[in-house]
Structure formats: structure tokens, C-alpha cells
Amino acid sequence: MSLIFTIFTVLTGCEPLLVLDPKGPQAQVQANDIKTSIIIMSFIVIAVFTILAIMLFKYRASKQNKDYEPPHIEGNVWVETICVGIPIIIVAFLSFMSVKSNYAVEAAPNGYGNKEPLVIYAASSNWKWHFSYPEEKIETVNYVYIPTDRPVEFKLYSYGPITSFWIPQLAGQKYAMADMVNTLHLAADVPGEYMGRNANFSGKGFAENTFNVKAMPQKEFDEWVDEVKDTAKPLTEEKFTELLEPGHLGQSTYTGTHLGFMPPPEGENGGHNHGSNGGDKNMEQHQPNETDSKTEHEHH
């Protein structure tokens, strides 16, 4: 196993595998789980390989007397207890780890005191990602800037097929769906550019359904927000409807967000009655709490 591992590590150009090179606490939890389970599982693999090798080495017909008659063996309570007991212990340990990590990745990342999380709405449409910053009142397409050393909450939903929002080095993925908003917690410890993509097959343009993530210190982030507000064009409903058209787009930036005129499927009904047919009349009734719709309408 370790030999195979070495060979492949060399083949991949000595670069650490993305998932095992975490840059934030959530991805760190996951990478630790993965590494620990690989080590434990290696023991099982080695045990099975060893027993198999011994059996094949010792009990081959060619090594035995011609008239040797193998005995009838029903089973042995002790042997079977060990074969059940050890796996149960391993599974129990892994279960403990798994449950602990579940609660860790589903909560705000640890270690940032009581810093207010930055909320970003990330919506997918065929085959793009729209990022809305409700507090900053700006919106980007196919790229997202986040501050380092601060928890970030991505609110995920989709204008179309189920997609999966994934930034391997910052956190594992989660689905974005048309009838429900999911929350993905993450934080970046290290400034840098990270690969983000949709991991769930969503049709023709799926392979290129990627986005760029750039993590930077809070000060730089604030400067960027100010710059966007000064330079970017406002996002109108017409413009957003145009952006939703199936296809691929480059990166773009807007002031204002789509959250006001096309709210995400969250709230009491979980949005089950609304769909991807954005702009529906009944969708106007649900306004997200985070958004001040009045300011939004000024852009119209």
C-alpha cells in the first residue's frame, strides 16, 4: 500500500493532493478524518493480505501429501468472536470520530472568537455561480472573494438542476437545490486562490462549471468591496434574468444583489412551492430577512 502510495505521489508531481492540503478549519477536520481512516484501514488491509498469503503459502495442494484429507471444521467461538469484536471496535471508534466531525463541519468553524460570520448567497444556474453579498450589497459571477480569519456562511441554492458547491481546500461540498437553501460553513486561514466547482453532474456544461475563490485579509476585502461599489454597474432584474440563461460566462461584478427581486427558496415553506422559474409572481411574497428590498429597488 505504502509503495503504491509513493508511486502515485511521484506521478502526481509531488504536489500534495488538494483535499489533503487544507487551508481552513473545516477542510482540516475532513483531512484529519481521511488520514486517520486511511491508517486504520491500512491495518485491516495488511491483516487480510497477510492471512491470505499465509494460507496460500501453507495449504497449497502442491505442498501437501497426496492422500491428505482436509478436516471438517465447523467454526470456533473464539475465532469468530475476535473476527466480530475487532471490526466492532474499529467501527465504534470511527463512528465516534464521524459523529464528532459531523457536528464540527455543520457548525461555525472554531477558533475565531465571536467574529461575526460573513454571509454569502451562492446560487448556481446552468452553468454559472452567482455570489450575493447581502450586507455589502454587491454581487459577483463565477468568482468569490472572502476575508481570511473570519467564519463564512455560504447559503446555497440553485436555479436549475441540483449542483454541489465545493472548494476542496476550504471545506467539503454541499448540494445547491431549487427548493431549499443549504448552509455551508467554512473559513480560510491562509490568503490565496482556491479552486471551486460544482461537483454534481448538471448537464452539458457541467465540466466547466467552476469558480475562483480568493481569500484575503479583512482590510483588503473591505477595499475590494468599496472599489466594487464605486465602479460596478447595478444588477437589474433584466440583467439577472439574462445572466440566468443557460451557457457559460466569464467573471463579472455588480452592485446590488438579486436577493430582493428574486429571493432564495428559504423561509417557512422551505421554498417547496417555488421553482427555478425565477420572476414568478408568487415569489415576490417571500422576502429574505437579510435583504433590504427597498435599496434593491432603487437600482431598477
Partner: protein
């Protein structure tokens, strides 16, 4: 012209036109051949109307091998497309169709019939029965499967293949995002085949419960029969869910209902749940018979009784029960929260315990044995280490927090191929080689067989190990291309080499069949492997009534008792044997189902209504038909027995 436009391929290309020509030529060649050699009558009398479980088994086998070829070509196309970055061999649409049909064909139209083939052929023989409980229903099962498979396979030349993945998640598979008839094919073809499978489930449970030889209590059944019993129990519980889900999907697509749409009260997550409530038990429907085959093969060639028979049975029962409690692990990332994920994470990892028991029992069956490495045994011995890799990575995937990183990546693809290929495909090849002499009266060449096993074993590692790494490096599954800067190139190239290796391995098996048909000895007796169970107690090939005298059984290894403990299997004299009559109705009814399915797919309502009437007419015919079967006389039995013994 407008009427015919709907049958056009929405996204044609040269290979598809070439396949159209090839299909047309093959059909012409088959029809011409049958006519020239005057075989129409033979085909109808001996095969299309047969209710003999052995012939039905062989027809399942032929279909499975054809579908293996189809699914294998799909696999090669995918690996070739991904072998180098930015490849232009296939475009996105073709790639999406290819991976969708690869999944459906391999699971539903290759692995399932392969299992059905071996169950059909072996189970009645292993329990000393003359046929299954409902022979005509069995024929209907086969023909429904066959027509479903054919319907699915014409999709790529008529109207376009499904392209929403074998999981066919809504809303992607709904009308809004899948406008071609491809997803209709998915819904209808799998429905027809699935009905056949459900009938098989009922049929085999009845057979195993009611038709065992005298003395064969449940705990004296051979392990393969046990696995078949449990598999069919899972089928009976799981397949109705698929039936309902497909019916709802069909209604969404054809009649404008809103079960899985994202507006008007529909819910896309419902499909994912229903699909996997069937889909996860389906995995165990595939793997349990495989476990049964390994148990037979390892015990036979270790020349020892199976270690821990009782714990084998208990672990299978546990696995079948738990297989219904883990479906959520297919979408840990759907947002159901930490508590739900924790529960399903634990149930998922817990399945590893009974599975582990089985692995250790096989290892201990080797203990103090006299191991002879034949081709089936070689597959079994390759299975243990490779499946262990697949299995432990399954436990890793079961850790839900970490699964957020594995989900939808090549890591997952590597895992399930490392489970299904060593687990199911190796078992099917082992079973095929093992029971081949019983089916056809000659053995496959051992040298070629072992060569193929080694090539396939090593190629499996070469093809799928790299995917664990590319997955952890961020390669999502189902991407038709990737850029050079991702660094996925070398790993995917290795996978492609492995895929070619697998193709070479299967080509060796095909050559082996040809070679053995020509050169293998026909004088092999009834028990060429020196085996332990009842199917080897009758002649090879097997006479239509299976056993001239119903055997008496004292243990799970009836034939071994007869060989070593002077147990007398066949007591008494020949008596006339009651056998079922052949019937053309299953074939005709399934053909009407094919027409019905085709009409539904293309929304040709008049034809669909007429076909529906035809289906009910066939059922009505069965209700009023008087058919008490026929008897084989003692004289006829004596003649057959003398002839078969003379062949030794």
C-alpha cells in the same frame, strides 16, 4: 415526415450512423442465417417458448455477455476521452450519454441478468428440484428483462440516449432540462425489466421454500442457494420502490405531474430518496449471490467444508436487513444536518462488520485445506484482496464529514468499481467457469482462463487505483474533460491503460470460449471439479428433468457425503416425471410490452392503448387456459439415462 422526425437522433455523429448500419446488417444476417439453415422452428420450439430453467439461465447468460460488451465499449470510450487533458474524442453530450448508459447497462442489464443466469441454472439443481416453482412466470421474467434491455439499447439510434446519469436525478431528468426522449427510455425500459426481476424474486423465494429435496432443511442448503434466497427477499422488498419511483418519473415526463419538479409542490429530493431506497439494497442484490458463488468455489477448491456456515447465513441476513437502513449515505451532502448524517454514517459503517465476518470465514476455509488453484479459485483469491481495498474505502466513505470531500469525485468511482468488479464481475466469471461444464458438457481451457483472470485482476488495479488519488486531488466524476493545468492527466492515462487491459482480459475469455468449443474434451463426466453439492450429482449437460430420481439429502454437502460417507443420494426406482409445457405467451406478451414501451416513450397513445389491451389479453388467456403439463414416461427416462451414462 413530421411523424418520423421524432425518431431522429438529436445529436448525431459518425459512430452512431456506423452503429445504425452495423445493427441493420446484424439483424439482416441473423434473419438470413435462420432462414437459410431452417432454424426458425428450432428457435421457436427450443428457446423462445421454453420454460426450462436451464435454458432460461443460458439465455440470461447470453444477454448478460452481450450487454457486458455494450457497457464495456461505453467504458472504453469514457476512459479514452479522459486519457489526455482537453480531449476532443467525445463532446459533452456524447460523454453524458455514454456514462449514463454505461451505468444502467452494467448494473441493470449486465450484472442483474448475469446473476439471474447463474441463479436460474444452479439453484433448482442445488436443491434437487425439477424446475422453479412457476416455470412460465420465469420465462416471462426473462423475456420482460430481455425486451427492456433491447428497448434501452435502441435508444442511441432511435430518438437519443438518456443523458442524466444512471441515477437520473430530477430536476435534471425532468422535461425542463432533458428535452429529448432519452429519459423516457430510462423510465420505461428499466420499468419493464424491473417487473421481470420482481417476478423472479417471488418465483425463487417460492422455489427455495417449497421445492427442496427431502432432507434439505434450511440450514442444510448450499451457500449459493442461501444467498439466492436472501437476494430474492431483498428484490421483493426493494424493487416495488423502483417501480413506483419510475412510474412517478414517467408521469412527470409524459403527463405533466409534479412529483419531482421544483415547482407546484414537487420535490426533487424525493426522487433521490426513492432511488436510493431501491438503489442501495440493489447493491446487495448484486453482491450477495457473488458471495454465495465464492463460498461454493472456495470450499470446493480448498477441498474443505465452508468455515462458519452459520455465521455466513447470519451475516447475510444481517446485511440484507441493514441494506435498507443506509440509503442516505448516497447524499450526505443534501443538507439533512449532523444528526441524520451521524445515524446513517453509523449504520453504513456497521455493515462492514457482517461483511468482514464473511471475508474471515473464507480465509479460514483455506486453513488446513488442500488448495488447488483453478480458474474459478483464482478469481476468488484475487477477489479477497481487491475487494478488501474496495470495502475499506467504503467504510471511509461512510464517514459522513469526510464524505463531503469524497462525494461526487473519482474517489467514489474508484470505490464502487473496486467493490463491484472484484465482488460481482469476478464472481460471475468464476461462476461461469465453474458451472460451464454443467451447462455445456465441456470445460473451458484452464490456461487461457487463468491468463484472463490475471490480466483482469491486474488491470482492475491499474484502472481504478489512480482514481482514488485523482478524486482526492479534486477531480469530480462525470466531467467530460479537464484542463492540463489540473494535473489529472497522468493518472487518467494510467486508468485508460488499465481499461485496455480489462478489454484484453475479456477478449481472452471470448477466445477461450471459441477455443474450448473447438478443442475441449466432451468426456468429462458429471463432476469434473470434484465438487460437493447436488448440481454435480446429475449428468453434464443436464437432462431436462434434472434428476431421474429425486435425491435425498443429509447435509449442506450432499454429493460430498455420497462420495466420502457412503450416503445414498438416489433411492428407489424411476417414476414418471411431471413437467411443464412450453408456452409462447411469455415471449408474445413481452414483445407487446416492447411495443407498449416504445409507444409510451414517443407518446404514441393509440399504439400504447392497443398494446395495453394486448398485454391484458395475454393475461386473460392465461387465466382461462387449461394446461396441466405433461409426463415423461419411465421408458423415456431409462432411454435418456442410458444414453447420458454412455457418454461418459
Amino acid at each position: 415526415m413530421e411523424f418520423f422526425e421524432r425518431f431522429a437522433i438529436p445529436h448525431p455523429s459518425a459512430p452512431i450512423y456506423a452503429s445504425m448500419v452495423a445493427i441493420a446488417l446484424t439483424i439482416v444476417a441473423i434473419i438470413a442465417g435462420l432462414t437459410y439453415f431452417k432454424k426458425w422452428g428450432y428457435l421457436w420450439r427450443e428457446w423462445l417458448t421454453t420454460v426450462d430453467h436451464k435454458r432460461i439461465g443460458i439465455m440470461y447468460l447470453i444477454s448478460a455477455l452481450l450487454m457486458l460488451f455494450r457497457g464495456g465499449v461505453d467504458a472504453l470510450m469514457m476512459r479514452a476521452q479522459l486519457a489526455v487533458p482537453d480531449n476532443k474524442l467525445l463532446d459533452a453530450q456524447h460523454y453524458n450519454e455514454v456514462f449514463t448508459t454505461h451505468g444502467v447497462v452494467m448494473i441493470i442489464f449486465m450484472a442483474m441478468p448475469f446473476i439471474m443466469a447463474l441463479m436460474n441454472f444452479v439453484v433448482p439443481l442445488q436443491i434437487g428440484a425439477r424446475d422453479v416453482a412457476f416455470p412460465r412466470l420465469n420465462a416471462l421474467s426473462f423475456w420482460l428483462f430481455f425486451m427492456g434491455a433491447m428497448l434501452f439499447n435502441i435508444s442511441f439510434v432511435v430518438g437519443g440516449s438518456p443523458d442524466a446519469g444512471w441515477t437520473s436525478y430530477f430536476p435534471l431528468a425532468g422535461n425542463e432540462f432533458s428535452t429529448s426522449v432519452g429519459s423516457n427510455y430510462y423510465m420505461i425500459a428499466i420499468q419493464i425489466a424491473g417487473l421481470g426481476t420482481l417476478m423472479t424474486g417471488i418465483n425463487f423465494i417460492t422455489t427455495i421454500f417449497k421445492m427442496r429435496a427431502p432432507g434439505m432443511t434450511l440450514m442444510k442448503m448450499p451457500m449459493f442457494t442461501w444467498s439466492a434466497l436472501i437476494t430474492n427477499a431483498i428484490i421483493v422488498f426493494a424493487f416495488p420502490v423502483l417501480t413506483v419511483a419510475l412510474a412517478m418519473g414517467t408521469m412527470d415526463r409524459l403527463f405533466g405531474t409534479h412529483f419531482f419538479t421544483t415547482n407546484n409542490g414537487g420535490m426533487d429530493m424525493l426522487w433521490a430518496n426513492l432511488f436510493w431506497v431501491w438503489g442501495h439494497p440493489e447493491v446487495y442484490i448484486l453482491i450477495l449471490p457473488a458471495f454465495g458463488i465464492y463460498s461454493e468455489v472456495i470450499s470446493t477448491f480448498a477441498r474443505r467444508n465452508l468455515y462458519g456456515y452459520k455465521s455466513m447465513v447470519v451475516s447475510m441476513v444481517l446485511i440484507s436487513f441493514m441494506s435498507f437502513l443506509v440509503w442516505v449515505h448516497h447524499f450526505f451532502t443534501m443538507g439533512q444536518g449532523a444528526l441524520t448524517n451521524s445515524i446513517f454514517s453509523i449504520t453504513t459503517m456497521a455493515i462492514a462488520v457482517p461483511t468482514g465476518i464473511k471475508i474471515f470465514n473464507w480465509l479460514f476455509t483455506l486453513y488446513k485445506g488442500k488448495i488447488e488453484i483453478t480458474t474459478p479459485m483464482l478469481y476468488a483469491l484475487l477477489f479477497i484482496p481487491l475487494f478488501t481495498i474496495g470495502g475499506v474505502t467504503g467504510v471511509m466513505l461512510g464517514m459522513s464529514a469526510a464524505d463531503y470531500q469524497y462525494h461526487n469525485t473519482m474517489f467514489l468511482v474508484a470505490h464502487f468499481h473496486m467493490v463491484i468488479i472484484p465482488g460481482v464481475v469476478f464472481a460471475m466469471l468464476a461462476g461461469l467457469t465453474y458451472w460451464w461444464p454443467k451447462m455445456f458438457g465441456f470445460m473451458l481451457n484452464e490456461r487461457l482462463g487463468k491468463l484472463a483472470a490475471w490480466v483482469i485482476g491486474i488491470s482492475t488495479l491499474v484502472a481504478f487505483m489512480p482514481m482514488f488519488f485523482s478524486g482526492l486531488d479534486g477531480q469530480a466524476r462525470r466531467m467530460y474533460t479537464y484542463s492540463a493545468s489540473t494535473g489529472f492527466g497522468p493518472l487518467n492515462m494510467i486508468s485508460f491503460v488499465g481499461a485496455i487491459g480489462l478489454a484484453v482480459g475479456f477478449a481472452i475469455i471470448v477466445y477461450n470460449v471459441y477455443y474450448s468449443v473447438r478443442y475441449a474434451s466432451r468426456d468429462i463426466g458429471a463432476d469434473p471439479w470434484n465438487a460437493r453439492t447436488l448440481e454435480w450429482a446429475t449428468h453434464s449437460p443436464v437432462p431436462e428433468y434434472n434428476f431421474a430420481i429425486v435425491p435425498h439429502v443429509k447435509s449442506a454437502e450432499a454429493l460430498w457425503d455420497a462420495k466420502k460417507k457412503r450416503h445414498i443420494l438416489f433411492q428407489g426406482d424411476y417414476e414418471k416425471i411431471h413437467m411443464p409445457n412450453n408456452s409462447g405467451v411469455p415471449f408474445i406478451m413481452s414483445s407487446i410490452f416492447f411495443v407498449w414501451g416504445f409507444a409510451m416513450i414517443f407518446s404514441m397513445w393509440a399504439v400504447a392503448i392497443i398494446a395495453t389491451i394486448g398485454i391484458f389479453a395475454c393475461m386473460a388467456h392465461r387465466s382461462v387456459e387449461i394446461d396441466h403439463g405433461r409426463y415423461i414416461s419411465v421408458r423415456k427416462i431409462e432411454e435418456t439415462e442410458t444414453k447420458l451414462r454412455g457418454a461418459k
